[in-house]
């Protein structure tokens, strides 16, 4: 998870959502997929917040 990029994480998240919406996820994998999707979601949010803070810092540095 540490090495994944925001873009890759977001793409994977999107695919899981699509699969879920199209009922293409087997029930056996549902919990696992849901957990993965939540993990990706958290990663994306954290990453976004970190980058936002970094950007805000660079603006304040001037």
């Amino acid at each position: 998870m540490a090495k994944i990029t925001y873009d890759k994480a977001f793409t994977e998240l999107n695919k899981i959502l699509n699969d879920l919406q199209n009922d293409e996820v087997s029930i056996d994998l549902l919990a696992k997929k849901s957990a993965r999707a939540n993990e990706l979601l958290k990663f994306c949010k954290d990453k976004l917040r970190t980058i936002e803070e970094q950007v805000a810092e660079t603006f304040e540095e001037e």
Partner: protein, 411 residues
């Protein structure tokens, strides 16, 4: 043949001269030498051939103490200027012959206007010649550097004018540093011509060391300054490799050397002021340029800064916009994830419920409850038809709440 003693002859000559030169008269000549001694002056008078310049006549003369006092009173400061070697003079003389000292002119009076006129005549001739040789404007075509710091000076080291000049330069208010190369030369008298022209030749050889040549001499009578009307000096100035600035005499004097120089100023101190002002002007230009450059840079900084600031705001806005839209994406993804997962589970549980209902419907227990039952042998084998039932003696009938034994009557 009769012979005479020398004294007798001289006595005779004396009588002849005294008879023939009763009254004083005026003569025109040039002073070749003059020496003063205890109030008396002893002169050597000459006349030169106009064509060759050779001496064609020569005589001794004297100004006795009393006459000298009279002439000094009449001429004032001009006395020394006129009564010096090389000057054309008109003199009122008595011819005197002394048995012991021989022939001598005794000078009683000096005609100032004659000398002045001769000078002016000579001056005009020199100017005409310089014009004919295109030397009047030659030095004007030199270029005076913007900064004048390395100054070749022709002057007399002991002259008051030189001291004033140096004093003025050194005490300049701007603190400019001047490097002076003095070429000590007589600025009046017989040696003046040769010394000044020699100095100009030396300076030409070292012209790369200097920005300009300054020729200065403090005030004096018109006659004192007449040396600068000399053709050779004026021509050397005209041909000098450096621009020549003259500061000769007082306010109203213009010598021929002033005419041929690059720039003629009235006094040595005026030259010093000019040098200082010229440098100050250059410095002012530089300072002005510096201000201009500074202002231009500040202006550019200002406009660039404004542009950068607006760019920064724009950038900030765009980034925040991007973040918020990304956050919205993630939030909606979260909702979709939640909903989709829930729906998948919901649909699955609906299916399962359907199955359950169906299973309940087909569950044998429920069928039995509704009044159906089934039959097995005592061993538990299903008896599904009468043919099989007829083969058995006893059967078990199964109900939803138990079973009963029945005996078969095959009779």
């Amino acid at each position: 043949m009769e012979s005479y003693s020398l004294f007798e002859v001289n006595e005779y000559i004396k009588r002849v001269i005294a008879l023939n030169f009763e009254d004083a008269f005026w003569i025109e000549c040039e002073i070749n030498q003059i020496n003063g001694n205890r109030g008396n002056y002893y002169l050597e008078l000459i006349e030169k051939s106009e064509k060759s310049g050779d001496i064609i006549a020569k005589a001794s003369a004297a100004i006795w103490y009393k006459s000298a006092l009279f002439i000094k009173k009449k001429l004032g400061k001009l006395f020394d200027s006129i009564l010096q070697s090389g000057v054309e003079v008109r003199l009122k003389v008595n011819v005197n012959f002394n048995e012991r000292y021989g022939l001598s002119f005794v000078i009683e009076d000096v005609d100032v206007n004659y000398t002045m006129g001769q000078m002016e005549l000579q001056r005009q001739k020199v100017i005409e010649r310089l014009k004919a040789e295109n030397l009047i404007t030659l030095n004007h075509s030199k270029v005076l550097p913007s900064v004048l710091q390395r100054i070749a000076v022709i002057s007399s080291e002991t002259a008051a004018g030189y001291a004033d000049f140096i004093e003025q330069l050194q005490s300049n208010a701007y603190g400019y540093d001047f490097q002076i190369g003095l070429y000590d030369s007589a600025v009046q008298g017989q040696k003046m011509e040769s010394q000044i022209t020699e100095s100009i030749r030396e300076i030409n050889d070292e012209a790369h060391l200097y920005d300009c040549l300054v020729i200065i001499r403090g005030g004096g009578s018109k006659l004192d300054l007449s040396g600068f009307d000399n053709y050779n000096i004026a021509a050397h100035i005209a041909k000098c490799k450096l621009p020549v600035i003259t500061g000769i005499g007082h306010k109203i004097d213009t010598t021929v050397s002033d005419l041929t120089s690059y720039l003629s100023l009235k006094t040595p101190t005026a030259v010093a002021s000019y040098l200082i002002d010229s440098n100050a002007q250059f410095e002012a230009q530089i300072i002005e340029m510096g201000r201009g450059i500074n202002a231009e840079i500040l202006h550019r900084f200002d406009s660039d800064n404004q542009w950068l600031n607006s760019f920064r705001e724009q950038l900030n806005y765009l980034i925040r916009d991007r973040f918020s839209s990304e956050m919205i994406n993630l939030s909606s993804a979260q909702k979709i994830l939640r909903n989709s997962t829930d729906r998948v589970i919901e649909r699955q549980s609906d299916k399962l419920e359907g199955f359950e209902t169906l299973l309940k419907v087909v569950d044998p227990k429920n069928i039995l409850k509704r009044g159906f039952n089934y039959t097995t042998t005592l061993n538990g084998d299903f008896v599904l038809n009468s043919k099989k039932a007829k083969k058995e003696k006893e059967l078990l009938i199964h109900y939803h709440d138990g079973q009963t034994n029945v005996k078969i009557n095959n009779g």
